[in-house]
């Protein structure tokens, strides 16, 4: 056994992702998914050993919104709790480590993103290097477009291939009641060439929650737990000019350390907000056509920032819960042009 304990995702819930959610504060958006995962497992708030969340206050411009979101957890009497200013996938990682150390047997992980109050393309520029990059205000689509062009120049893709990625994602999303963009969506005009509107994720608000549990506890809470066989995350230099944008060595390394290449996969949920990034990830993970990529529609169909990575883990787990997958890879990304990447390998027992 590679880890001290076996830990599984035993429940997953997500909101519909919507273009606007003005009538809801963050806590009002989060609460339904918290209640949903508790209902699925039959646990009460007080049964949870550790709670961890991922979000960023910059999205909605509400200082300390993450402390207000805690109102939805029922944090009295005081609970063991933590927050990451990152996608909820990294909150899940922290919770997993907490359970591996034996400090908790169950964990509640949630994430939310309310992009509608601001301009997410501009907001994300504030995570960039403040010396050489942020003063130029390069927005998230511009940076992804530089990566896409590098990939096209290297012969790794072309515009029709990118359009096909987007079309397949939105077609698959037709079966996903929570997705924001589904069905046949035109490629549209260039937002930042070579990326067209169809190559970019929709802007939306949403939340997701997951419950983790160890060993027999997981078997008690879920008929077919999605066991985390390995999980790792790696980061690359922040300066785009020192990286090969057509490759994702951090994804490959994380996948290797998570054990992704040790046995065949049947499913991969990749967090690729831009069509070109799916191409980079497929190449880096060496995925062949036998692997079902993003049956949920992926981030091109619904991209609640800070929750979209956690949703990849949740969608892969839910597929195992339903018996539709036996061995799935889940990936989450953070930062410009796939700077930081997390990979988990999930398995069901036959």
């Amino acid at each position: 056994m590679r880890y001290a304990r076996d830990v599984a995702i035993v429940a997953f819930a997500q909101t519909d992702t919507l273009r606007r959610s003005d009538e809801l504060s963050e806590v009002e958006m989060v609460m339904p998914v918290l209640h949903d995962v508790l209902r699925q497992t039959g646990l009460r708030s007080s049964d949870i050993g550790f709670t961890c969340s991922g979000s960023t206050d910059y999205l909605a411009g509400r200082a300390f919104s993450f402390t207000m979101a805690l109102d939805g957890v029922g944090a009295w009497p005081p609970i063991s709790e933590s927050h990451v200013e990152m996608d909820g996938a990294w909150a899940l990682y922290e919770a997993w480590v907490k359970i591996l150390t034996g400090e908790a047997d169950t964990a509640l992980v949630y994430a939310y993103g309310k992009s509608s109050p601001g301009e997410v393309r501009d907001v994300l520029t504030r995570q960039l290097d403040p010396y050489y990059v942020a003063p130029l205000w390069p927005d998230s689509v511009a940076l992804a477009a530089l990566q896409a062009q590098a990939l096209i120049d290297a012969g790794g893709t072309d515009e029709p291939a990118l359009a096909a990625v987007a079309a397949r994602s939105r077609t698959d999303a037709s079966d996903n009641p929570h997705a924001q963009l589904k069905g046949s969506i035109p490629s549209g005009e260039y937002i930042v060439r070579p990326l067209r509107r169809g190559d970019c994720p929709p802007v939306g608000d949403g939340a997701a929650a997951v419950i983790l549990a160890a060993g027999d506890r997981a078997r008690d809470l879920c008929e077919r737990p999605a066991w985390i066989r390995g999980m790792d995350h790696r980061i690359e230099p922040h300066s785009l000019g020192v990286r090969d944008l057509t490759d994702s060595p951090s994804t490959r390394l994380a996948a290797g350390r998570a054990g992704a290449f040790e046995a065949p996969l049947d499913t991969a949920e990749l967090h690729a907000p831009f069509s070109s990034q799916e191409v980079v990830l497929r190449r880096s993970l060496n995925l062949n056509d036998s692997v079902r990529v993003n049956p949920s529609g992926g981030a091109l169909a619904a991209n609640p920032v800070m929750a979209a990575g956690l949703i990849r883990l949740g969608e892969a787990a839910a597929r195992i819960h339903r018996g539709e997958s036996d061995r799935a890879l889940a990936h989450a990304t953070s930062g410009p042009c796939l700077q930081q990447n997390l990979v988990a390998v999930l398995e069901g027992e036959s």
Binding site: R19, E23, S25, G61, M68, P117, R126, P135, Q149
Partner: protein
């Protein structure tokens, strides 16, 4: 979640601005001061690569690196992206290309923009040169942009001390983000009631506590609150402090008292200033009522009602 926001939901513009003030280390200081002097510096890593823009630690080995060199003001585009619709604060106001440029002599690329007539005139591997800003302060924006320029690439670099007169040692990167803020259903109800000089909270369906102001959830039970309950207008001072420092822009004489006030019917105290009584006579248990001023959306302060003080047992859970 419902897709159509209710039309009476409150919304207001919200601007978040912050000057991001950063000190510079020796390498960043040399690079940005160099730009002011129309000199582009890179740094040499232990394996001989030249990084432009330079960093202070080797991205591969994490070693401290200080060996500066001067590179060319001409270079080669390594990738590009055409921006048809410039956004506020971006370097050019007319359509332009984002570019990564490998300056002559460098092994890595710098992110900036290229002023070109249209996307058909841009390609990877095209030659470009720096167009310097007329006024330069020691910032990445001292490079106004790149412009197309045919020239032969060179790999020549020269050593540089990195020393300049009057070196730039810090930068301020102004940041401004614009939002349309909506407080959501629960707080919209609270604010709208205040406009009618009423204070409303919401009751938890589980523990029955009434929260003021309401935020839509009971922080103890973790469930939604929805039942609106009017509270006050009178209340009890549960605890207080004496403010001796005059706040900028506030026309209130010091010392004054700022208090936690449990409005009658509320299970959570809110904050308010106490007036109409000398500061040194305010006490726990004092009964108070709100004082409204013309056009105000919330009570200006609270003043004594003249009732007998509340019994400690009545408010001890609300401190």
């Amino acid at each position: 979640m419902s897709a159509t926001p209710s039309p009476d939901l409150l919304r207001a513009p919200l601007v978040v601005e912050f000057p991001f003030t950063r000190s510079l280390g020796p390498v960043q200081s040399a690079f940005l001061t160099g730009l002011r002097e129309r000199t582009v510096l890179g740094v040499r890593t232990s394996d001989g690569k030249i990084l432009v823009p330079p960093v202070e630690y080797d991205p591969v080995t994490a070693e401290e690196i200080r060996d500066l060199v001067e590179v060319g003001a001409t270079g080669t585009v390594t990738t590009w992206a055409w921006n048809p619709d410039p956004r506020r604060d971006q370097p050019l106001t007319t359509p332009f290309a984002w570019v990564l440029v490998r300056l002559d002599g460098a092994d890595t690329s710098l992110l900036h923009v290229l002023d070109a007539p249209g996307p058909e005139s841009v390609r990877s591997a095209m030659r470009v040169r720096i167009r310097w800003a007329e006024e330069r302060t020691g910032a990445i924006t001292d490079i106004a942009c790149f412009e197309p320029h045919e020239s032969e690439p060179t790999a020549h670099v020269t050593g540089h001390s990195g020393e300049f007169d009057d070196a730039v040692t810090g930068i301020v990167t102004p940041a401004r983000l614009d939002y349309t803020y909506s407080p959501g259903r629960a707080q919209t109800g609270f604010i709208n009631a205040l406009a009618g000089r009423r204070t409303v909270g919401e009751r938890c369906p589980s523990c029955r506590k009434v929260y003021v102001p309401p935020r839509g959830a009971c922080p103890t039970c973790g469930v939604a609150t929805a039942e609106q309950v009017e509270v006050g207008p009178r209340g009890t001072v549960t605890t207080y402090c004496i403010v001796n420092i005059k706040a900028r822009g506030l026309d209130i004489d010091v010392p004054y008292v700022y208090a936690h006030i449990a409005l009658d019917g509320a299970d959570l105290a809110l904050h308010g200033r106490i007036g109409g009584i000398p500061y040194d006579q305010v006490r726990m248990g004092l009964r108070v009522e709100p004082v409204w001023t013309e056009g105000s959306r919330h009570p200006d302060h609270y003043r004594p009602t003249g009732e007998p003080d509340a019994d400690y047992d009545l408010y001890k859970e609300l401190l």
